[in-house]
Symmetry: C2
Subunit: 279 residues, 2 copies
């Protein structure tokens, strides 16, 4: 596995790969890899001849009071996991390489970026869209894979790709969960033992919501969301947002139907966890 | 000359051109072409094997009270001019093709976009950066040529290209002027006979400013700008802005030096004209 830290060097290598007519698959990450990330890499491999993974904790997608500095990092462990997956190239740039002095350009996907996570984290999706666009321009992938745990993020990236006429196909991949149902996340490492146990209620509440719709034919978002809220609060979770929305527009639905998306963000202690499911 | 109106069709053709290892040169325009545009095309030809020109009056770079609807258009004349220049491909999309329903993504180059023309025309450079990025992604040029009459625009495009790691080289080309010195512009067609004569003061004032710096060693921006302002107002011009700025940062200079840029926007009647020169 090649490890490249400089943009110019990466572009040079990518040109050689392109000259060989290889299809490039790309998985951008913030590192501290878990099975969720690895599932994305396996999907990228299926759709391409040359797999590029990036590890970059992107400062511009963190708010001033968020966890950029304490975000977990373990390069050696990540490197060995990626080698096992036979990733062809790891792009591992510094902040200065990505945002040199005098950096000024930002991408905004309007509407989709200002609701749900975007409302709680102003500027977050601007930072995400910007770094993903930069990475796409550097890596020039034919396909890129994003996880559905960050459902809103994947939707925003797809909209950006469509709007900016980018030549990359976005593939999304299902959420990977721990054996007790908690969605895998690098941030799970922040949870203490009690929080870790209680946080399993998030997935249980999502399963309950799907069940009550399909088995009891309940279509009221208010009813479903109130009960979910109660279940989570009973376990000590503090709800940031919880919503049942149209899967494309992210607008709250008046009556729940198949295909709608239930999304939520919940604090356990200081740790903010997100999760979602299709109805 | 191929004329293409659809993005998918253009991408298909560009792929074929790229497969032949041809270098693609690109000149984006809003049409109503004059010698200034043609000079850009000749420069593009010198640096490439395949010249693409686009004609697209970009609605999102016009303010609500600006001249989008009355902006001059003459496709037949443009087509014949481009054929004479042996342009290989003309991209001529509709507004709906470029901004389909539900369009949401915009690019902002901060700082540089909020001064001078950006201050008078809020959102203008956001619209410019967005459409140029889209066109770059569609045409995938190796080089693109921009005129220095839109000096601030060229600077913003260069910053965007650098910041977003785009694989295109930006070339800028000198202002082309009428025989009496007025900078060529599609908007000159708005001027009535009297305004057209009076507007030549713009270039005369720029020449005077350079002369007074080099011949009389005057370094005070205030002195130079006040005299320029007077000269232009005496001919019935209404100054939107006039400034002597650093050629990279666009910040006003305290003392004029070689290489600084003098930029101005002036109304003659309802017509807003821009011009600039290097000191």
């Amino acid at each position: 596995m090649k490890i490249v830290k400089k943009i110019a060097e990466l572009k040079r290598l990518i040109k050689l790969v392109k000259n060989k007519k290889k299809i490039i698959g790309f998985v951008p990450t913030m590192g501290y890899l878990h099975e969720g990330h690895l599932s994305l890499i396996r999907i990228a491999r299926k759709h391409s001849d040359y797999v590029v993974c990036s590890i970059f904790v992107n400062p511009i997608q963190f708010g001033p009071n968020e966890d950029f500095n304490r975000y977990p990092r373990d390069f050696k462990r990540d490197e060995s996991l990626l080698k096992k997956e036979k990733v062809d190239l790891l792009f591992y740039p510094s902040v200065k390489e990505m945002y040199p002095e005098g950096y000024k350009t930002y991408v905004e996907v309007e509407g989709l970026s200002s609701v749900l996570c975007g409302k709680s984290r102003p500027g977050h999706f601007r930072g995400v869209a910007t770094v993903v666009l930069k990475l796409f321009n550097i890596v020039q992938p034919d396909i890129a894979v994003f996880g559905e745990k960050d459902y809103q993020q994947a939707l925003i990236i797809k909209q950006m790709v469509r709007d900016l006429n980018l030549n990359v196909k976005i593939i999304t991949a299902p959420i990977v969960r721990e054996s007790d149902g908690l969605a895998m996340s690098s941030r799970n490492t922040y949870l203490n033992t009690e929080e870790r146990v209680n946080a399993t209620i998030i997935n249980q509440a999502l399963i309950w919501a799907r069940d009550v719709f399909y088995k009891e034919n309940i279509k009221s978002p208010e009813y479903i969301l109130n009960r979910m809220r109660q279940m989570i609060e009973d376990k000590g979770g503090t709800i940031d947002y919880i919503a049942i929305v149209d899967k494309e527009t992210l607008e709250p639905v008046r009556f729940v139907k198949k295909g709608d998306r239930i999304l939520l963000a919940v604090y356990f202690g200081r740790t903010r966890l997100i999760d979602n499911t299709a109805v």
